[in-house]
Structures are given as C-alpha cells and as structure tokens.
C-alpha cells in the first residue's frame, strides 16, 4: 500500500507538470464546454438541456483521451530504464501498476469534477433533473476508469507510446462499437450477448438515462480488474525475458 501511494503521488504530480497532460485537459474542457454551450443555446425555448449531455459526449471522447492519458505510464518507464529500478526495489509489481492506474483515474476524476460547473450553472437558471445527471456521472466515471485500465494495459505492452495509444484506442473502439457486429449476426440472442459485452451496452441503456444498475457497475469493475491484472502479468513477464 505504501509503495502504491508513493507511485500514485509521483505520477499524479507528473500529470500536473507535463505539458501534454495540460493539453489533454484543455481539449477535454474545451470540448465539453462548447457542447454544453451549444445545448444551452438550443434549449432556450425548445427543450430542456439534456441531463446526461456531458457524460454522453465523454463516452466517445474518452476512446481517444484515455489512451493519451495512459500511454506514457508504463511505456516511458520501460524506455527510460526506470522500470528496471522499480522492479529491483522492494515493492510489488501490483503496487506499480495500481499506483499508476489510480493516478490516471484521479486525474480524470478531477477533470470530470471540473465539468460539474455546468450543472451548477444550470441549477441557477433551470430545474435540471439532477438525479439523471448524477446517475450519468457515476456511469461515466466508471466508464473512464475502464477506458484508462485498457490504456494502461497497452502501455505495459510496449515501450513505444504512440503504438500503445494506437492499440488502446483501437481496442476501445472495438469495445464501444462492437455492438455493430451484433447487427450482422443471425441470432438475436447472440446479438444481445455481444451488446452486453460492449461499453455502449452498459452505458446507453442505463447510465445515460440516469439509471444505476448493479450489473453495469460489475461490468466496469470487471473490465478494470481484468485489464489491471493482465497489465501486472505483463510487467511481471519482463522479468523472464
């Protein structure tokens, strides 16, 4: 735990000193801000603001942003040679991966929290369905965690950051739009199973409409656990090469 905390602290600090991280944050906030603004403009006189507006947007945005946030986490260590020092220090491989993952998730949570400003604005001028929004935010928080976990997995796999980001993005795209496969499959049951394996399948029918279901929480937690577990094994495997 102690080692996890130390790694977490250093990595989180890196997020606040790295120019790339600030760029990503700026992009993140710009996109969400523009979206909110547009929706607000439309909503005057037409319809209420979509409560899950930001989370819905982030569901697709994170497919690109999550790998960008995580690509350096393990790839850089391998490339700079510091992974060798980490692996010869009296800390577990789990602590290394977990600490890095938590730092990425925390950074994401901070960015997410910043978008809550829009909800505060809304509350001043309308009667937004905060329950719906809350559900959606919980969902996109877990969703983000899952996307970041996938990102870390690919960062562990290669020392090339670009490759890592590319592979992670592709995987996330597959995981998100995979239900498209379901459209061309003959059996309706199979299509449903495929849908339930995708990120969309556990976000659109539930969190997006403000519904918090146990099965979705389990799904995202499962993805996080699985990806981190595999990442830890990959890090460990470096000892055998």
């Amino acid at each position: 735990m102690r080692a996890t905390w130390l790694v977490f602290r250093r990595e989180l600090g890196q997020y606040f000193t790295s120019p790339l991280a600030y760029l990503i944050a700026a992009g993140f906030l710009l996109l969400t801000g523009v979206t909110f603004n547009n929706d607000l403009a439309f909503s005057i006189g037409y319809r209420p603001v979509e409560p899950a507006l930001i989370p819905n947007q982030l569901a697709t945005v994170m497919i690109l942003f999550a790998p960008l946030l995580t690509m350096r986490l393990l790839a850089e260590e391998q490339r700079e040679g510091t992974l060798e020092l980490l692996l010869t220090s009296p800390i577990t491989d789990t602590a290394i991966v977990l600490g890095k993952f938590l730092s990425a998730w925390t950074y994401y949570s901070i960015l997410l929290a910043l978008t809550l400003i829009y909800q505060i604005i809304l509350v001043q001028i309308a009667f937004p369905d905060l329950g719906h929004t809350a559900g959606a935010y919980i969902g996109i928080w877990l969703y983000g965690g899952a996307a970041l976990a996938v990102g870390i997995l690919f960062s562990a796999l290669t020392e090339n950051q670009i490759l890592s980001a590319f592979l992670a993005t592709t995987t996330l795209l597959l995981l998100y739009f995979g239900d498209g496969l379901g459209q061309i499959v003959a059996s309706a049951e199979l299509a449903q199973i495929i849908f339930n394996l995708t990120l969309r399948g556990h976000f659109i029918p539930s969190f997006a409409i403000g519904l918090v279901r146990g099965e979705d929480i389990v799904y995202f937690a499962g993805i996080i656990t699985l990806c981190l577990f595999i990442a830890i094994q990959i890090v460990n495997s470096r000892r055998w090469r």
């Binding site: 790694v7 992974l83 010869t88 055998w240």
Partner: protein, 301 residues
C-alpha cells in the same frame, strides 16, 4: 555479502549463465570482467532481484534472491548500465522518490546527505533532463546508495563519461567500500586493476578466472617481463637481447623492447650486456603481468 553457488540462467534453449559460483565480502570491491555476452549483466540482474535464477543458490546480504526477494532487494543498491532517469523530476525529488520507495528512514535527511556527498546539492532543484552525462552518472550512484544498502551492484559505471568525471566516480566507488560489498562490471581492464580487490572473469556464461591479481598472475605461466630502452642501433640491440640466457621472447615496443624471460636473473644479464657493450641505457623497468594478459589468455575471442 554476495554468495553465488552454481548459478544457471537459461532463456529457452540458450544458456546465458552456466553454473557460475563466486563470493564477495564486505569491505571488498569485486570486479566482474568479461566480453559482451559473457553473462555479466544477466548475473547482476539476478543478484538485484530483477529476474529469477533458473537454478542454483544466490544470496545477497544473507537473503535468498528467489525466496526472500523483497528482503534481498531492500539490501541492494543497483546502478544499471543505462542510468535510469525521470527527465521531468528535479534532482532532489528523484533521489527522494527512490529513498522513500526503498523504505529509507529519515528519507529527506538522507537525501540531503547523499546529494552533498556527490556534490549535487547546489543543483538539487534542477531538472534531471538538464544534467550532463557525468552528473547523471553521479545521480545514478546517489540513488543506488541513498537507502544505505550493504551491497552495491554497478553495471559499467564509468562508461561514456569524460575522463575527469571518470576519476571522480572511481574515487567515489573507492570511498564507498567501507563495510559494503561492491560488485562492478567493466570492460576497462585498467580500471578493474585500479579499483578491485578481486576479479571474476566470465566468458560465455562460465567463470574462466577468479581471484586477486596476484593469484591470477601466478596461475599464468611463470614469466618475467622487462622493458629496456637503449640509445643505440635498434637491430644491434635486438640481436643482443635475443642472445641473453633464459630469454623467451623479445618484441619491440615504442623506442625500446619488451623482454620476456623465465626468471628474474634476466635483469642482471641485461645489465651485464649493456655494461660490456658500453651502451647508453635510457630505461630499464619491470612489467607486471597485467590483467589484460590474464584476460586475453583466459578468454577465447
């Protein structure tokens, strides 16, 4: 204290380390010599807990590297061949991070101490990326000793830095010796000669020579060498030297000759020859059997 018994490391079909055994004791600097691919880095990585041995017993500071990996790692300071860096951290933050990760008591204080020891204190806020190669080497050494480990393992610590800083690094290593066990690998035979109390020579995964220089010299064929430089006709002198009793070989080197002979009496013979022929002697000195000779003899190219 380092104890290696019958260490074997296999990568699939390839045997990188083939039943090597050696020891290193506190207060000693042991040099690990060998050509590229001999198994030096692999051995060091096993000692530091990076990778497990395929078989054999490896103990560091009394702890088995496989069964008590954490305890063993705690007691080792490691400087890999490529100095590992976090470019965006400050010098101080870098050392402090490793100090904390390795459970150093009074980490902050210890960091200050180590930075002072390596003359990095006035640069402690500088980013690691802005340091010169020599400074990075010192930083790497700082991280290796910040947690005060009883065993230090250094992989080619003086490669790639300028001569002045090489001297500094060697001085630092020498001073670190007290009560610590230091194992370092090098290609530079002169450096190993200067710094090491004992030497282990590896080739193709096996130990082909071990011991102090004296012991290794004795194991080489008993030979004596002298360097002679005389102010006279080169061919004449060459001929003269070849005719001396007990001479094994005479080869020219620079302005003089290296005479290899069976024993010490060759010196008197040289002096006699010079006096009798009234030659102008410029230089006469003995040549120690150098590590290079031992190395070249033991290691097949």
């Amino acid at each position: 204290m380092i104890e290696v018994k019958n260490l074997v490391k296999r990568y699939g079909g390839f045997i990188a380390v083939n039943h090597i055994s050696f020891d290193a004791h506190p207060g000693e600097i042991v040099g690990l010599l060998g050509p590229n691919g001999a198994g030096k880095t692999t051995t060091m990585r096993i000692l530091t807990g990076y990778m497990p041995p395929t078989s054999g017993e490896v103990k560091v500071a009394g702890f088995d590297v496989l069964n008590d990996s954490m305890a063993a790692r705690q007691r080792v300071g490691y400087l890999p061949e490529r100095v590992p860096l976090y470019p965006d951290m400050s010098v101080e933050a870098y050392v402090l991070y490793w100090a904390r990760l390795r459970r150093t008591p009074n980490a902050r204080q210890r960091t200050q101490q180590v930075l002072e020891q390596f003359n990095l204190l006035d640069r402690r806020k500088k980013l690691v990326r802005s340091l010169s190669k020599g400074l990075r080497q010192r930083l790497g050494l700082a991280q290796a000793i910040v947690h005060d480990p009883p065993v230090l393992i250094l992989d080619e610590p003086t490669i790639g830095i300028d001569p002045k800083q090489v001297v500094e690094v060697r001085e630092v290593i020498r001073n670190l010796k007290t009560q610590r066990t230091i194992l370092f690998s090098s290609h530079i035979l002169s450096e190993v000669e200067q710094l090491c109390d004992r030497v282990v020579i590896l080739d193709k995964g096996r130990v082909v020579g071990a011991g102090t220089r004296e012991i290794l010299s004795q194991q080489l064929q008993a030979e004596v060498k002298f360097y002679v430089a005389v102010n006279a006709d080169v061919d004449h002198v060459h001929q003269l030297l070849l005719e001396l009793p007990g001479v094994i070989n005479v080869s020219s080197e620079g302005p003089g000759f290296v005479i290899t002979a069976a024993d010490e009496t060759i010196r008197q013979h040289i002096m006699s020859a010079i006096t009798i022929n009234q030659l102008d002697l410029l230089e006469l000195r003995p040549i120690d059997t150098r590590l290079e000779d031992i190395f070249m003899q033991r290691v097949e190219s």
